[in-house]
Amino acid sequence: MQQEKVTLRELNLRIQQVIKTGLPEPVWVVAEISEIKIHSAGHCYLELVEKSEEEEGPVARARGIIWAFVFRMLKPYFETTTRQVLREGLKVLIKATVEFHELYGLSLNITDIDPGYTMGDLALRKAETLRRLEQEGVINMNRELELPPVPQRIAVISSEQAAGLQDFLDQLHHNPRGYVFYTRIFPALMQGREAENTIIHAFNRIFRYEEFFDVVILIRGGGSQADLACFNNYRLAYHIAQFPLPVITGIGHEKDESVADMVAHTALKTPTAVAEFLVDRVSAFDEHLSRQASLVSEGVMSILQSEKQKIDRITRIFSPLVMHVLNRRKHSLARSVQTLQSAARKLLTGKHHALKDIRSRSAHQFRLLFRTERERAAKLTWQTVHSGRQFIRNAAMRLEIFEKTNRLTDPARILGKGFSITYHEGRVVRDSQILSEGQSIQTRLFRGTVSSRVERTGGGEPGNTPGGDHQKDKTQHKNKTK
């Protein structure tokens, strides 16, 4: 077995040759910066890794270098575009030529970084954080807290050395109205790897004095190179959102809004703005007090005024009212006087008339009575005369009838007319049958009497001959005369 033996340098040169021919052009590589170091000469050394969702630790690793002359150009461009410091943990798209040095090994010579990729990635991560906070229902919690009207007791989370902090404190404590603010600094790193933990630690300390403080201020000193990455982190955002005191941030950049800003009660751009906000709020309260005071005084004055008017009005209407009532009473009394006069006079006049009536009625009745009585006397007189004469007339008439009857009855008067009366043995004969032949009868005439004998008798019934008794008598008599 023949073995070719090369030296390491020969080998490395051969690898160098293979890589040079195999990867002649620069390539765009996606990687995450796991370490970054800037050399004193201005070169930038990076360690790049690729992480997998499934596996622990990186799945690929490579070193990279940005030469000082490139880095001087690249760094400001990247940082101003992304508003991110080029730092570990950042995902980047780099343009690199693969180089292999026989002594230093494999290295990527970075000639360009695409800020657009990193920005997209940051935005993605921010969106992810927000979605999570929302899902957990905490995203609005701090915002929904009520900011006290006077945020006077202030817990400040800031880096102690930051220039922004000093500005903030100066502005707050030297406010023109002289309002008192109580501030307490809770130091924390505001950038870099430890920022997140120290800030959370500061929040935890403040939490112990929850009752004491009105508000938590999270501020960061100025500087355009601000690294906002930690303020987009889920853990910090979660702490802020859930914190029981309102959190006001002054960490913002001109254009970007971090997740911390979004979940905080109030987000302002700068510490100065925060100080101004707090002073304004107290000042607004102060003005509200003044306004309330003047409203109270106006209200009271208006009540007093309207009560005065009411009393004035009562006073004004009172006297005419009383006078009116008294006048009405007077009038009604006067009316009573008039009524009395007219009614009394009317009554008396009525009585006069009644008396006069009764008098004339009396006279009339008396005279009527006399007339009646006189009429009665006259009537009685007339009646007496009439009755008396009637009486005598009646009596005379009766006598006349009697006389006439008597005259008619007289037998002498009948005999005068030619009638006669037949007697037999002294008795008047009425029936021929009581007589028998040969008997003697006497006949009385108007003048003198005749005696004769019966030859024969006939005709028994008086009914045989029509006519009264007289006629019968007459017949008998005639028969006898024959």
Binding site: W382, F402, P411
Partner: protein, 70 residues
């Protein structure tokens, strides 16, 4: 005559009426009849006299009354 004069008007009338009734009822014999007729005539004369006298008296009184009225 005196006794006869003392007969009152109504007694006279009564007797007249009685006789007339008897005549009407033919209770009387012809012989009695003419006697009674005579009696009635006499009674009527008496009555007439009385009546005449009374009338004269009453007329006088009534005339006086009438004069009173006028």
């Amino acid at each position: 005559m005196t006794a006869r004069k003392e007969i009152s008007y109504s007694e006279a009338i009564g007797e007249i009426e009685e006789i007339l009734t008897r005549i009407e009822n033919e209770e009387l014999d012809v012989d009695e009849l003419s006697l009674k007729v005579k009696r009635v005539a006499s009674l009527i004369r008496i009555c007439r006299d009385k009546l005449g006298k009374t009338e004269a008296e009453v007329d006088k009184i009534l005339k006086e009354m009438d004069e009173d009225t006028e």
